[in-house]
Structure formats: C-alpha cells, structure tokens
C-alpha cells in the first residue's frame, strides 16, 4: 500500500475573509476562494478536473451542484462532502486520494458555509429531520462544555486555563488580514463575558461566521511546472478517524479528550514517520471550536502528556513564539467556523506558513505543519501533515 506520503502537492490556496458576509451568498464566497486558489496555482478554473466541496448545512447547499453551479463548472465530477465539522478536511482528503490514485492531474478541494443567513445566535438547530426520543436537544457548546466540566473535576483545571487559549488566539488573529475578529482581548474580557454553556463563555466559543476556502491539488511532477514550482507543499500524511456521535451514551468515554483525534493522529504520524510530534512538528492549526478543545487537542495530538494540556498553554509553549506555535492564524477563535470551509482554510494556513508567506503571522522556518479538523461531539477527526518539498 503506497499511502499518500509525498505523492500529492498543494499547488495553490485561497480563502475569503471569514466574517458575517451578509451581502454575499455561498456561490459568491466559493468563487472568491477558488479564483484566489487558481491564481495562486497559476491555472484557470477550466483546468480543474474534479471537485470535492465540504458543506455541512443543507441550507448552504446539497450535492455536487453547490460547487458546480457556483463555478459554472459542469460535466466533471463534483461531490459534496459532509463529515460534521471535519467536512472541509475530508473534502481535501478525497481530492488528494483521487490524485494519488492517478485518476486526475489537477483537482479542487474546497468548502463553504453560509451560516449567518440563519441568524447568528449559535449554530442553527436543524441537524436532522428527526431525533430519537432519547436524545434530548443540546447546543454544540454544551457538548464540549461537558468535557471542560470533567477536566475541572478530574484535573483541577479552571476557567482561567480556558481563557488563556482565547487570549493567545485572539492575539494571533489580530495580525491576520482574513480573520473575523482582529483584536486582542484580555483575560478579564474573556472571563467576564456572558456564559454560553457553563463553563464555556462567549470567548471560549468560536463565532458564527461565513466563509469559503479552496485548495488546488496536483502531483509533485505537475506542481514543478506551476506557480509554486520551487516552494510547492507536499502532503506527508492524512488520517481520518470516526468514533461515536453519542459519547454521552458511551460508558467508556472519559470526557478528558477525544479518541478520534488520537486515532487520526496515529494514522498520520505513522505515515509521516513522526515519532516525537512535540519536537518534529513546527506549527499546528488545530480545531479550537472551544477553548477546552484546543487544550485537549494538545494532549490528543501528543504535543504533551495526558493531563498536561493546561500547563502547555500556561507555559506559553503554544504561543506564536513558543516552541510549538498552535493556531498562529488565530484559529477558529479568530476566524469563526463556517463549517465546510474550516478544514480547507487550515490547509491554506499551513501551506502559506511552509512557504514563508503567512503575512503578519509567519512562524520561523517551519519544516512540518499539522492541521487538525474535529467534527461533531469529538466524533470525526482529520489530521493532515504538510511539508516543504
């Protein structure tokens, strides 16, 4: 089994600003992100041979027509990918594997979400057509808040530990031109904000935002003839792991982390040959849908030992100038989380970092970057490792 390592290149990336795009629809956003990615790669839209588009909500778009209609690219394969909040990176995975299979030369992975059309009071509660009677309603923050509560009881972590993540990511996002929120916050601001789902307050939660992101994928051979012939980025690994959507019914679930992340990371580390992620990974864009998620990600991704996640943020090890910068872009905290778009945005962030052109948020001489996209109540996780060619 040859795997994916070094067989696929990122030829170009693009993204809209992530914000409340009241004046634009999902098609406008997709066109903007894809055009930027095509320009970055030095290709035209018509050079795209197949499309995978991450979309979570059915009100954003159903089927492959969501991307095909936006781009007026008809007659080629186009597939909507939905895998909870990891939809975007799963679109990327499908696109990569199609190129690695040798079926296509140039394909598009993209993602979009137009959430604010449904209002901005939390995520729209239109997940399913029917729910079983034994599944009471709960908000997305509530599902992650229960992990925070458990760490408070089990590990002695506090709301201050959570707030440190918000302060760090907002400081990073303040420097990113495409972030939704571009201002720093203080610990006091984070701690005094209204509650969303105790113990998670407003600044522990990512915002409701619109946006689109796009990645042009090709082979390393073809990438050598494109815009980034000298600095194209290669895929070192991709892992995807799916666990239960009902951890709240799983007697073995300890709420101290997400097994899906651990399993996806193991797949990716094995393939990329990473044995000591804390030393070998130069930077990471991780799924900080909530501050507690980022802290648990540190542990699940092997950046620190189990139980040391809060110390990892306290000691500044994940800061922009730390030894393993996490979310130098500002993360979901600063960008918001237009669900289908987030995974592809992360790929774009890591790509630009590895190419040394992450304006405002560039980390020093990165070699390997990790992107981590987590979906559902920690149920679906995709981990991608990118490296310089």
């Amino acid at each position: 089994m040859p795997g994916i390592k070094d067989r696929v290149a990122v030829a170009g990336v693009g993204a809209t600003r992530f914000t409340e795009h009241y004046e634009k629809d999902q098609e406008d956003l997709l066109v903007e992100a894809v055009e930027e990615a095509c320009t970055d790669a030095g290709i035209e839209r018509k050079d795209i041979q197949a499309i995978w588009c991450g979309v979570y909500y059915r009100f954003t778009g159903l089927s492959g027509t969501t991307a095909a209609d936006a781009l007026r690219l008809y007659g080629i394969p186009s597939t909507r990918v939905e895998n909870y909040c990891a939809s975007g990176m799963d679109a990327f995975r499908n696109a990569c594997f199609a190129v690695a299979a040798g079926v296509y030369d140039i394909v598009l992975a993209c993602g979009v979400e137009k959430i604010t059309d449904q209002g901005s009071h939390g995520l729209p509660n239109v997940l399913r057509d029917s729910i079983p009677p034994f599944m009471p309603p709960a908000s997305a923050p509530a599902l992650f808040a229960m992990a925070a509560t458990r760490t408070f009881a089990e590990r002695g972590w506090t709301r201050e530990d959570l707030a440190r993540v918000a302060v760090k990511n907002h400081a990073n996002g303040a420097k990113h031109p495409k972030a939704h929120f571009r201002r720093e916050i203080t610990m006091e601001t984070a701690l005094e904000a209204p509650m969303i789902a105790w113990p998670l307050g407003r600044f522990d939660s990512c915002a409701v935002s619109d946006g689109a992101a796009a990645v042009i994928i090709t082979t390393p051979e073809i990438a050598k003839k494109m815009n980034h012939k000298d600095d194209y980025v290669v895929v070192k690994a991709n892992g995807l792991a799916v666990t239960t959507a009902s951890p709240m019914h799983n007697p073995g679930f300890d709420y101290l982390g997400f097994p899906a992340t651990r399993m996806a990371a193991k797949q990716a580390y094995d393939e990329a040959g990473i044995t000591d992620p804390a030393r070998q990974i130069s930077l990471a864009e991780v799924h900080d849908c909530f501050t507690i998620t980022e802290i648990l990600n540190y542990e699940d991704l092997g950046f620190c030992e189990p139980g040391e996640g809060a110390a990892f943020i306290r000691e500044g090890r994940s800061a922009a100038d730390g030894n393993l910068p996490v979310n130098p872009s500002g993360g979901l905290k600063s960008f918001g989380h237009p669900i289908g778009a987030t995974g592809c945005r992360m790929i774009g962030e890591i790509t630009r970092q590895l190419q040394g052109r992450a304006e405002g948020v560039q980390v020093k001489d990165p070699e390997l970057g990790l992107a981590h996209n987590l979906g559902g109540p920690g149920a679906v996780c995709s981990v991608t490792i990118l490296g310089r060619n």
Binding site: R128, P136, A142, A145, M146, T149, H249
Partner: protein, 466 residues
Amino acid sequence: MAGIARWGVSVPVWRLDRGMLARAWDTPALPGERAAASGDQDALTLGVEAALECMRGGDTSQIDAIYFATTTAPYAEKHAAATIAAVLDLHDVMTVDVTGTIRAATTAVRTALDAVRSGGARAALVVAADMRPAEPSTSMEQLFGDAAAAVLITADGPVSVIGEASVAEEFTGPWRRAGDHYVHSFDGKIETESYARAVERAVTAALADAGVSPDAVSRFAAYAPDPRTFATTAKRIGFAQAKDRLFSTIGNTGAAHALVALAGALDETSPGEHVVVAAQGEGADALVLAAGAGVESARQVWTLQRALDDKRVLPSYERYLRFRRLLPVDEENEPPSSTIRTWRDRAQAFALYGVRCNECGTVQFPANRACISCSALDNMTRVRLQRTGTVFTFTLDHLIAGEYLETPVPRAVVDLDGGGRIFVEVTDCEASDVKVGMPVELTFRLMHEGAGFKNYYWKARPRRDV
C-alpha cells in the same frame, strides 16, 4: 374483600407562596402555599410519578387494568393511561382515562373495584392527577394546586372497601368548556351548597351501605372547593374531627385531591380505623374503607408528609407564568420529532430498556445490535435500567433552552446505578445546584412539543433519599 393494597403520591417540588400572588395582583392572600408543577410536568407526568411511587418495590405483573383520572388530560384525543402502562412496561392491560369531572378519581376507583370484584382484573391501578388552569389574579390561582396520587386495587387489599355510593346532580359549577383557558366557577354560595348537598348524600348512603356510623369514622379524605366548605360539610355529615392539610400546603388539587388526601390518611391509619373518601362534581362519590392488619406494612417510604416537606419555593411569579405557558412566545426551531421513531423506541424511551452485552458485560443505552465497547454483534440481553445514578459531567446550556423552563438548562451525562449511561436534562433544582458526582434519580417529563405532539422522556433531578 376488595380494597386498596398500595398507594403513592406525587407532589411537584415547587411551591408558590400565596403572599407573592397577592402582591403581584394587589389582592388578599390566602394562607400558605400551593404546589406548582414545573414547566416540564403535566397531569400525565405527575400521574406517572405517582404510579411509580405506588408500585415502588412492588409486583406489577398482576395489574390488568390502569385507570387515569384527571380533568387536564394532555390530549383531547389520545388517552394517557396507555403511556402510564408503557412506563410500567405493562402491555396486556386495559387502559382507561376517566375525565371531565373533578370526581374522576373516585369514579375510577369504584369502576376499578367492580373490575376486580367481577374477576375482570386481578389488580387495577388507579392514577389521579390534575393541573387545573386558573386565571391569573383570581382566587382560584391562589387556591388551585398540582398533584397526583395512585392506588392499587386488589381483591384482598389490607384496606377493604366496605361501603360505596354515588349520586348524580346536574349542576354547572365549576366548569371549563372545550377551548376555555381557565376553570370557571359560579361565584356564590350555591356552589358550596351544591357541593355539600351532594357529598352529604353520597357519604351518608355509603356509610349506610357499610353499616358504619359517622362517629366511627376517624379520617375524612375528600375533595372540596375550599377549606371552609370542607370543614362545614364534614361537620354537617358528623365528622367532627375531620381535617384537611392540603389546602394550605399544596392547594385544591382537583381530580387528584381525594386520592392525595386518602394516601395521606392511609399513611397514618392504624388497623381498625374507618376512613371515608369522597369527591364531588356533578354529583358525588363516597367510599367507606376499613383498615386491616396490613395497613401499616403497606405504607410507602415516600409518604404524603415527605412529599409535602420536599419543597422548593418558586423565587418569582414570573417563573410560574413561564411554567404555565402564560407568557406567549412564538415558537421557532421546534425540535424535530417523529411519532414513528417514538413508537419504535417506546421500550427504551418509556420503560427505560437498555441492553447488556453478553460478551463484555457493558450495560448500554440506547440499544444497538453491536456493542459500543467490544463491537460484538447480536449478543445482547435486554435489561431495564435503574432510575438512580450519578452525574458524570454536565453543562449549563444557555444557548438551547428547554421549552417553558428557565435558562440555563442543566444537561448532564449520568452513570446509572447498575450500569448504562444516559444524557438528560436536570430539573427540579436551580442550575447552580448541579455538581459532578451528584446523586440523581430519573423523573418522567414533558420534553417539548416538536412535530406537534407531546414528547415525553426522562430527566434527572437531585436524588430524594428514600
């Protein structure tokens, strides 16, 4: 001789201070408090709770009939007794709702006695519950209370029914037409006079049937519209010692009142005592009971007195208004429901069936063909989950409210005693009371009305230590 073998009560934890109502409307205050059901309770959920208390530790296998007595059934079409049967995991039973009159409970008891005496039922469970709607600012708002009680009728209950009578009297009061929001009452002495006349006739006839004189009766458990009418009627019949402790503590509990009072009386009755139970409404029913030797051992641990003592006073009138849907809200994002899914999942949702994996022993809920721990396929044993457990983790959700409840809504992962993990809302407490490790018990509640029907499920509440 046919009679009552078991009994149980359910009183909502919340009390409304009548002084608060008086201050809200600048009206005179009646003494004491009234029970106020939470926004996630209705007559059916109160009745389920009373049925479970009545049958706590008991054998339900002899129950062949379930009667549900109320004036406030959740549906105009679709009876509630079958839901009680589903929760009790009883299926080959006759289910009957007796509705439309505040004497529904005593009528149901008489009907159940006939079923048992005729051999049509080995045992019959009678559940009475009410949550009568009172117009804000009226004296009825202060007077009415919400509660439920249940009695198990058997051929040889320790409390024998030795006399019975009913009278019918066409009289309009109190009444509520289909479509009326509130109970109406003719404001005048004729109503109390009608009450007293009907109850006196029925009780006198029942005493004659039993061959018992009024002065041989030690307890009078009766519905009455108000405490004064209760006292004057009891005196007229000759029950000099009759007392009602419900009006000042939980209120006039409508169709449930006579059985709640009866349960409280039986909690304290000694062998050899006579008890009369009566209720009025378009006439009256009366029964004379004789307590036998087993009456004391038939007592449940959750007595009426404990239910009266287990209370929390509502901090505001506004919360009561929200509980009772008296503040109009425009519903949006109704939770998606499916009557078909609810039917398919009925054993899990109502009777709380989970499964135990025969290979790894994990008790799990909801049921699945493959084990959540070891993936073994089709090797499960159905088990009924216990209704007690411990909070493993929780959140206080400000974003998605429970319908008709205050936000934040506590939502918790609960590890049940004996195995199984369940995700439930926490009710009957303040959000700040919820803690990791807190002992809780499950209580049957109205969740929401998604898809236009009543969606019932379990919630957790702080454990009442019994």
